[in-house]
Symmetry: C2
């Protein structure tokens, strides 16, 4: 827990369930025209006037997706929203509403839950979505946050995972592997702290990397740029489990193969240097690290020239015939088949072997 001992601590019992809900939702203003009814009835009401409603849901569990020893609660709330919005953008849709359900134990104070909601509201405001409902309940143990996001799109704009064709360029936004390396730093600092509680961590030079883990952003900007420039991806997915896992999803669902090139995969200088320091292969971090929440998408060959260098989007390979498989060509010219070894919450819990 992040709260110093001398900060105010209100027991949840002092408010009751409805008091807590009122406290957490009394600042909500609905901004979306489609939000007809928000929190406060059996259900929320949205009206998208014949457009498609896009729905996604993601659950974050304490000890699996986050460790409260190094995750500020506000960042946690922010991230819980962003990872859902990222899925909506990956459909080439615009997120419009979210619902948030939280299970909490009595080791959390009202102030702690307010901090989570503060992050939730910051994310809602930044991305222009309305919080329209949710559920607040108890947990006998850990904290669990479940978010469902709704978005809207015209039928002709929707982009699925199954539309990639041989010859299409494979593109990725931003850079990969940083979120995973951020997690490695935080885990290292946690161990140091547990062994030497008097040592202050020096994370001055790791702000970018740590930020990528604790406070990821959804690539609304990329979706907008593509739309502005008349580029409709042929397939798209967001990178939550890692590049390997996601390209395999696209290839499986599209019935195609893919050729990726190691020297094209974008890795930040910070991430590259840190991987070396941790004795990790930078490309492995990019392929399997996950949680970068960048967009992986394919575009027709003729659309590649429309991509601007200023967008921070990189072409990392080409869609191939299914028979050619899904491969990575290394800097040394070797060709390896790509297999899914992405971040897996079942591995994290020890249910699967890593």
């Amino acid at each position: 827990m992040q709260t110093p001992a001398n900060e105010k601590r209100t027991e949840i019992g002092a408010l009751g369930e409805f008091g807590l809900i009122r406290l957490l939702t009394n600042s909500i203003k609905l901004n979306q025209e489609s939000s007809i009814k928000g929190v406060g009835d059996d259900a929320a009401v949205v009206n998208h006037q014949g457009k498609n409603t896009v729905i996604t849901t993601d659950m974050l569990a304490e000890g699996i997706h986050f460790d409260l020893m190094y995750t500020p609660l506000k960042h946690l709330g922010y991230k819980a929203i962003v990872v859902n919005l990222s899925d909506i953008y990956a459909m080439n849709a615009t997120p419009t509403q979210v619902t948030v359900s939280i299970a909490i134990s009595n080791r959390f104070s009202v102030e702690a839950i307010e901090e989570i909601y503060e992050g939730i509201y910051v994310a809602c405001k930044k991305y222009g979505v309305d919080l329209v409902g949710g559920d607040t309940t108890s947990s006998l143990s850990g904290l669990v946050i479940s978010v469902t996001a709704l978005g809207v799109a015209n039928s002709e704009d929707l982009v699925y995972r199954n539309g990639a064709k041989p010859g299409d360029a494979i593109c990725v936004s931003g850079d990969l592997g940083s979120a995973y390396l951020g997690l490695q730093i935080l885990e290292r600092e946690k161990q140091i702290y547990l062994e030497h509680p008097d040592v202050q961590p020096d994370l001055e030079n790791e702000q970018y990397i740590i930020g990528r883990q604790l406070k990821p952003e959804a690539r609304k900007d990329v979706i907008e740029l593509l739309k502005e420039h008349g580029i409709k991806p042929t397939s798209m997915i967001d990178i939550s489990d890692g590049l390997s896992s996601e390209i395999l999803h696209i290839c499986t669902q599209s019935g195609v193969g893919a050729k990726l090139y190691e020297d094209q995969v974008p890795i930040s200088e910070e991430a590259y240097n840190l991987a070396i320091k941790f004795n990790l292969d930078p490309i492995t971090c990019a392929l399997n690290g996950g949680e970068d929440y960048e967009l992986l998408f394919t575009v027709k060959a003729e659309d590649v020239t429309k991509l601007s260098n200023e967008w921070n989007v990189t072409v990392i390979g080409r869609i191939a015939e299914k028979s050619e498989g899904v491969t990575l060509t290394t800097k040394g010219g070797n060709v390896f088949p790509i297999s899914a070894q992405g971040w897996d919450p079942l591995i994290k819990a020890g249910i699967l072997d890593a």
Copy 2:
């Protein structure tokens, strides 16, 4: 856990996350015309052609909402869906899609999770809704199920909690208190079992009461009957926390008072006798028990004659002026103010005093 030692047990690790999702979702058939895209992409897509989309979400946590010592996993899955659909019906809307997120620990086998999903699919089929998405993740401790349900309604059909007017009749479907008494039986049998594992429980005569707790139904039939007979409730809510709590929600949001009459509140014979046996006041069980998932609604005075005796709907009082407060007139003619003491998940976890 319900699984006898000699039944098949597949470790989740043997399947992996995507294998597990495939196993759990490969039998899904989308039946709703509005379900454009279901499981298998970043998000689901629904298209309601200009009608209102109604959204609700509810989370069930192990140890708070259910005890696996006496909750069959199939019933748990069924109930997780039903409690959400109940909220959609309480808006006078028709449920159309659900998403399901589950956090599980490795003490659950693949077969156990399949049992939960079996119940989910039975409920989806019975109520004609499509499962269109979800998330499967790990938990370091208990089982948590989070469901979001979507429904559809014309604007003019929607019923909120805030439309009750003085003079309206207060109606309730079915009977109240049984679900709470079912929980008391199950808790009693659990204690007996823990102390005397060789004693077989005799629940022959308690099937109705226990069923009300373990496998509640949403009152789709009542919504359909009201519509068929041209009755639009002025306000409506489903009874999840207890009659007291729900009538207070309606009165607070509508800015009115209410007069309820003890002798009108429907209590089944089984529940009545059992309450006496447990040394509980039957009306208290009905007022504060919760989890009956019946519908509490108000109708204009002139619509009361349209209600049929065959519908199993009872008029239990009248909406009054706000200044008259919210009261219960007992069989003895005493008038008591009603306060919210409904089932509260925060009480259950020891966060609030009961």
